[in-house]
């Protein structure tokens, strides 16, 4: 499966056992991406990590 990085347009080949909602790193630009669909393989930028006070 080939998907395109939404950040840098790199073509990323996804392993056959990839599941929806998996988070991967783009091998070219390092962006963390969520597999939002498998048909067709589609990637979206994973949500920013927020900061929160407390435990």
């Amino acid at each position: 499966m080939i998907a395109t990085c939404p950040e840098c347009a790199a073509e990323i080949s996804l392993p056959a056992d990839t599941l929806e909602s998996e988070i991967i790193s783009c091998p070219e630009c390092g962006a963390e991406l969520e597999v939002i669909s498998l048909t067709p393989p589609t990637l979206a930028l994973a949500p920013e990590v927020e900061e929160d006070w407390g435990e």
Binding site: P6, E7, C8, A9, A10, E28, C29, G30, A31
Partner: protein, 344 residues
């Protein structure tokens, strides 16, 4: 084995050529000349070569025929003696500035005199494989490259080739360079108490390498400034250009990736985290890699393109050996795979 000799082998570029060629699997270094050091062992000038070769410098007058000659002489000397050198070797790579510019008028404008051998200009291929790879294959004569020009050209070429630069706006390039660019001879300004710790505006305007940038990129007015910084090896070019149309990071990635994938020694460096997020010359010391990175200010459309090299390698001897590989039909990367050191 191909027999090569180096003329002017006692300088820093000569030393790097020796380091690369002595370990190159397809060539044998036959002679290394130096007028001042004739009779001395190579390691007495280039201490890193100790124990690896018993060669001694020979006087330039003793230069014998060979297959390929590297010329690493002060600017102007090669052009004045072309007849002699072409009689000694079928192929020549001249690391000086003498044959980099194809236009004699540009030479006169930037070097202040008429070219000593204009008839030879058209016979030399510009020695940056990233721009003249096909012409270099099998070529007889190749020029060297300017180190600052190379860092600048590699920073700009991805943008130029993708047509992303607004040529109606200025293109500014600031290059920070190490002290080895000044060559092996000392001057008042290289005296350690004066040079150490300096951030010296060496050539805010008027640097000769501007001509090479114009020639390679086709930009009519690249504005170049050079600053000497606390490095021995290394050059970092930071080029500022404005996008011709609204673009996103993605467009730049495509442009840079398109350029880099054709180039065995160009790597893209643009990380989101960590210490080495952009190109850093420090980790390229001794390596032939040129690391490219970029950033985009979407508000203003300013593109900042960054290229780090080792000035003695990609900016001189490394590119010259890469040219040799192409001229002689060897694997382009042969003898040049060293990735640099970390930490250093």
């Amino acid at each position: 084995m191909t027999r090569v000799s180096i003329v002017g082998a006692s300088g820093y570029v000569g030393g790097e050529l020796l380091r690369l060629l002595l370990w190159h699997p397809e060539v044998t270094v036959v002679q290394a000349t130096s007028g001042r050091n004739a009779g001395r062992y190579l390691y007495q000038v280039h201490p890193n070569l100790r124990g690896r070769t018993s060669l001694q410098f020979v006087h330039p007058d003793k230069l014998e025929p060979c297959d390929l000659l590297f010329l690493a002489l002060p600017h102007g000397e090669a052009a004045r003696a072309m007849q002699r050198y072409t009689g000694l070797a079928e192929r020549i790579i001249d690391c000086s500035a003498d044959f980099r510019l194809s236009d004699p008028a540009a030479y006169k404008r930037w070097y202040g005199e008429d070219h000593p051998a204009p008839e030879w200009l058209g016979r030399f291929v510009y020695g940056l494989p990233e721009v003249s790879r096909e012409a270099l294959r099998g070529a007889k004569y190749a020029s060297g490259v300017g180190c600052n020009a190379t860092a600048s050209n590699l920073a700009l070429l991805p943008l130029v080739r993708a047509g992303l630069i607004d040529t109606s706006k200025p293109v500014l390039i600031e290059v920070k360079v190490g002290s080895s660019e000044g060559g092996a001879s000392s001057t008042d300004s290289s005296h350690h108490p004066e040079r150490a710790g300096a951030v010296r505006s060496f050539a805010p305007v008027g640097h000769r390498h501007t001509a090479e940038i114009e020639q390679v990129t086709g930009l009519s007015t690249p504005h170049l400034s050079i600053t000497s910084v606390e490095l021995v090896r290394g050059a970092l070019a930071t080029a500022h250009a404005f996008a011709v149309r609204p673009i996103a990071d993605k467009d730049l990635w495509q442009a840079y990736r398109g350029f880099a994938k054709e180039q065995p020694f160009v790597r893209l460096v643009k990380e989101r985290q960590g210490i080495y997020r952009y190109p850093e010359p420090k980790i390229l010391a001794g390596s032939n890699f040129a690391d490219l990175g970029f950033a985009l200010d979407p508000e203003s459309g300013r593109i900042v393109s960054i290229c780090a090299i080792d000035n003695l390698m990609k900016g001189a001897a490394g590119s010259a050996v890469q040219c040799m590989n192409l001229m002689l039909g060897f694997e382009e990367t042969l003898g040049l795979e060293f990735p640099g050191l970390h930490p250093v």
